[in-house]
Structure formats: C-alpha cells, structure tokens
Symmetry: C3
Subunit: 266 residues, 3 copies
C-alpha cells in the first residue's frame, strides 16, 4: 500500500492540504486545526474549501469535498470534518480516492467522491495523540495531526490499517445511464441548483429541456449570457452536472427550488 503512495507525496515540497468543515469562521476552530497541522508539516499549502457547510450537514459536505478532489492532483490531502458524532463510536478514517487522501470521520462524508470517482480504498486511523484527545474536537487532536503527518510524507500504514468493507455511504448517487429522473443535490452561493444528472445523460442529437417544479426549462444553454437578464436556463455546470440557473439572479429564490426537488430530462 505505502509503496504506491510514497513516491508521489515525497516529491512534493509544498504539499496541498484542503480543508472542508462546518465550523464557520466565527471561532478559533479552523485556526486550531491549521496551527496543529503546520506543526507536523510547516510547508503544507492550506486551502480552505469551505467552513460554511450547514452545521452537521454531512451530505452537503460530501458534495463540496468531491469538488475539491475533482480539482486536485494525486497526492493531495483533504482534511474533511463535518462530525456530529465526534467522541462516539464512529470510526476515524483515511479514504484514498484517485490517489488523493481524505482524512475525516466515517459518517458518509466521502459518499459523493466515492460514487463519482469509482470508489477507492479506506483505512481506519489507529494513530492517537500521546495526551488524551478532547472528546469534542477530533479535528484538532487527531484529524489535523494525521493530515499533517501524511502531508509531511509519513507512510499511511504507520497511521492507519485497512478498513474492513467500504466506508459508510449515504443515499446519494449520480443518476445512471438510461435514466432521466434525478433531483437537486446542491444550491450554491449564487442560487444555482445543481442536479445529480451527469451531462453524459444528455443525448447529443436531441434538444432537451429540464422539468422542475412544474416548469419546463430549456433548451440546454452554454452559458448564463445565452438568455436575457432574469430568465431561467439549464446548462452544464462546472461540475459536469446539469444545473438550473437564472441569469444575474438566484434560481433557488425565484423558482423556489430546494435540495431534494425532483428534476427530469425531457
């Protein structure tokens, strides 16, 4: 296991570590994790993905995390802590997906990445700090040190052992070929609504619309400027998933779209 992994990471002198949490930015929580992580790897390049995952919303965190993985290169480490079960019996894991490493709780947070990237390998973290870890902040006391040690080139096998079976996976998956019905899985900052309909479902030779909230939106557009100000449109988002938007406005607000709403390619 570690033989395949080490060469890539050892070459990085400025290893990239992304951070995804539901900690907000009001408190010191994110800083505490970063301080600890840099103690283990002073040259790590820390990139905040988001700390505004709604509290305890593992599903949402899972989608944001996948987008960071999709943008990153092999060897990248992702510290992902949306962890309502902290201190309970839930496991602490490292998931290897596409040669990248997610460090976080085993509560479904890797679901979207696991499903979009064809699975991976999961490991249970066996490393524990010398002093007792806080029961309420494994992010600082276990996950951040492990991410830092991985970033500094420490072999995964010194920190974790293979997990029996898959990590916990939530009820969330991209719609598979041949099907046309999906749902809204994500509302972004702009109010754009991302669906779980991959662009591969769109037939190349036919014009499609999307049915959502008793409304037909289409045909498929290339960019926001293809419609006039305030008009709704459907396009292929930067995640290669079908996305419902409003030019210069919020589709979520103006079309009353919520996560979970059904959508269908027509």
């Amino acid at each position: 296991m570690s033989r395949a992994i080490q060469p890539t990471r050892r070459k990085l002198s400025f290893p990239v570590v992304t951070i995804t949490t539901d900690f907000g930015e009001l408190d010191h929580y994110v800083a505490a994790m970063k301080i600890v992580l840099l103690q283990h790897c002073p040259t790590a390049r820390l990139i905040d993905v988001t700390h505004f995952t709604p509290p305890q919303d593992v599903l949402r965190g899972s989608i944001t995390l996948e987008r960071a993985i999709a943008a990153a290169a092999p060897g990248t480490i992702h510290l992902a802590v949306v962890d309502p079960g902290v201190g309970s019996e839930r496991k602490l894991i490292v998931a290897e997906i596409d040669g990248q490493f997610v460090v976080g709780p085993d509560n479904g947070l890797v679901t979207w990445a696991w499903r979009m990237h064809g699975g991976g390998r999961a490991f249970e973290i066996t490393w524990r700090p010398k002093e007792a870890a806080s029961n309420v902040f494994h992010g600082r006391d276990i996950f951040a040190p492990v991410a830092g040690m991985l970033a500094s080139g420490k072999p995964l096998k010194a920190l974790a052992r293979p997990l029996k079976g898959d990590p916990i996976l939530l009820d969330l998956a991209p719609v598979s070929k041949g099907k046309t019905k999906g749902k809204v899985i994500f509302i972004d900052h702009f109010g754009n609504a991302t669906t779980n309909l991959p662009c591969a479902l769109v037939p190349k030779d036919r014009i499609i619309c999307v049915h959502v909230k008793n409304r037909l939106i289409g045909p498929l557009r290339k960019c926001y400027s293809d419609v006039i100000h305030g008009e709704p449109l459907v396009l292929i988002g930067s995640s290669d998933l079908l996305e419902i938007a409003i030019r210069d406005g919020s589709a979520a607000k103006l079309l009353h779209i919520n996560v979970g709403d059904e959508v269908e390619i027509v």
Copy 2:
C-alpha cells in the same frame, strides 16, 4: 514589454497573488481556483481580498480590487473574477497597473484601479487550456492558470497580446480638483461610507463639513474617537478618500446612507 516586467517577478521566490471574487465561501469555487493556481506556482502566497462581493457587482469588486493594488508592491498579481458574462464574447484580459498585474474579465472590473492609478496597459489573454474550458468557470480554467503562470515567471507575451484600446471602464471616477460634489461609492463591513472625494480636495486652511442626506456632518475629524459614542463624523479614511462614519456604530444603518447617495464638501 516582457523585458521591463520579468526582472521584478523573477526575483520573487514567494510571489504574492491576491484573489477578489463574488464566489462567496459556501462552495468549492475559490478552492478550485487556488488548487489550479498552485499547480502552476507552488510557492505563490495567496491572499484572499474578498469573496463576498455582492453577486455580479462589478463596480463594488472594482473598488475592493483597487485597495488591494494600493497596498501591494510591483510584481504582485491580482486574480479578480466577478464575471457575470462568463462564456460570452467578453474578452479575458491582463491589465498592468503600477507594475502590478490584474487577471480577469474585461467588464469594467479594473475601472477604479485604472482611474486612481493613472491608467496602465491592457493585454488580451490568448492562452487557452488544452482541454476545453468550462463555459461557466473561466476562473478555474483560464484566469487561475494564467495568474499562476505569471506568478511563476512566465512572460506575459507568451500568454497575452496587447489589447486594442483601453479595457472597458465603468462610470466611476474620483472627483477632480476644483469640484466639491461627489457620491458614496462603498459601504464597508462597519457601515462606514466611503465617497469618491479624495482628501486632496480638502482645503488646508479652511474647516469643512460634508453634506449628505440633508444632514451636515463636520468638522473634519482625525479618528473615530474624536467624537463621542454614537456620534456621526467625517474623516479621511484609510483610502485617502472622505469617509462618513459613526463612532462605534454603522453610519449606513443609522444615517440611512446608500451607495450612490450624493455628498458635497461645504
């Protein structure tokens, strides 16, 4: 062109790249740009200016961007993406202002910097990624790589060609000498209202007040503590522009000041 630029940038081993967007911090968008940028320049020092520009508010983004330029040194690179026209025919540019480089869409985002720093030189980005760029996320697919390549010392002429004419400029300019009427251009986090009246307009030998919202505020103060708690005041802000504030409070809220409101030196 590149001869004048290269020496400065080549000397920097930790080149500073600032980032100004309207992406918010809820999603992975900013992280995706940073991950890509660091792939081109692993030692770049990334500084977030803001991601809370109101969506599609190019004018506001323009003012924030100028403040980053005012604080930075020659050779600094500014990735600036408030880009409602992404994927349309709008151009992608690099603007050189005071020896610094702004990478972003040609939609007026450089206006305030261009006007406050006496113009500059503009270039149209000719570089395109090998794989097709997303139609909705040039920030990740074009602007971030170009900013990263510039930061790593790649010559500008390998990425862009001189733009014919000036970049697009919005209707926003500092009030010129001899005039006394301006407007509120910016409300900050504290509710302080910045005007487009440069401090150079203030006569050295006379006491001035500022007229705003049918109210006379003055005389000019040096700092917030020069008035008592809750009192309005006018002072020279950190941008060297006249600013209307309330000690320990929000001038915007308490005086009902909005962007665009007329102000006059009296």
Copy 3:
C-alpha cells in the same frame, strides 16, 4: 529580553502568524494587512483565526485570541486588531504570553490570554512607519509591519520598550477554585455556550449538573452523542471549560442563552 526570545524565532523558517480581527471579509482590510506583513516576512505562515468578531467587541476578541494562543507553540506571533480606539491616545503593545507574542492595541484584547496563562510581559511599540500612518488603520500601518518584523526575527527591543505596569485588562476571568458560580462568556458558531467554569472545578467523585436559565442540565457528559437528538447537555468543551450544548442543535437559540447569563455547578 531579546536574548531569551531570539533563538526560538530564528530557528523557524516558516514562522506562524495568526490574525484575529473584527474587520469582516467584505472589504480589503485583512488583505491589506497580510500584503504588508508578507513584505516584511515573505515566508510567514498566515492563519486567520477570525475576522467575524462582532465590531468593536474587544471581550469576544479576547477569548478567541486566547484559543489561538492555547493551540500554538512558543515563538508564534498573533496579530490581533479589534481597535475601536484607533488613532486615539490608546497605546500599541506587544504582549509576551507563554513565549508567544500578541501584537495589537492596549485595550483589553489580551485579557483572557493573560488571565488563563498566568500573565506575561508587556511592551509598548515604539516603531513608527517613515510615512505618516493612517489615523484609522494602524492594523495595516503599524501592527502588521511590527508582526512581520518580529516574524522575520527582528529583536523585540528594536521595536518596543517595556510597558510600565500590566496591559489593560477587562472584567473577565476564569472562576477560581472553591467557587461554583460563573457565567456564559462565549456563544460559538454551533450555538454552544462556553462558560468561565474551568473543568478543574468539577469534583472527580461526584455527579454534577449545571444550573442555567432556571433549568438544570446534567449529569456531565463526554460528547454530544451521549444524549439523543435535540437534547441539551453539559460537557467539557475543547477549551477545558464547561460548555452547554444541544445535540445537533443550537443551545443559544433553543435555551435562549446569552453571553453574561449566570451558571452554577450543582
């Protein structure tokens, strides 16, 4: 003084500098400070603690700052700017606490760290910029350069002189041994309410509850999952202080708890 300090800091090639402000993230203020700081120390590792301290809330900033200090190692520098008195006669200081250095205004911002870590040594900043500093932004013009120079290894004695007496300290302290009554000092992003009751006050051999808002919450739990969804609990937070929480919810909202509310160990 500087002899004891220098060796530690000189060894760090990537010195950690944390930043705590009430500047928000809407404007360029934080970026301006970072740009200036990196000019003095290009390899500094900048860690945002928070910029969402409520405007002018020195007490709250004081608690967040202490949490950063608690997480960090000797030699760490903390740039802390919640500074409603900027430009007035208030002093500018460096406080050395546990071998770490806080750079900021002398207005009580170091209170919680000073009290939790057994005091320290305080110095008045004598360094001033060659060009006149803005009267409203010492963060950019004085504190950031001083923090950057300290990070780069410049001796403290070249920048500051010993302060006569202690820095200004607010009316905020941990409850001392033998007492049982305290108050809520901090509501975090999740709505958890931290008290000033250190866990050392909890008798090892007895079951305790906490009385707050006419409600008895207990017994003391280890982690959020020890109670069912929606139930209130009391536990030892990651700050080693007693904390009132609700599993998967906001104690502040659901129990109507505010900063200042009385709490008692029963």
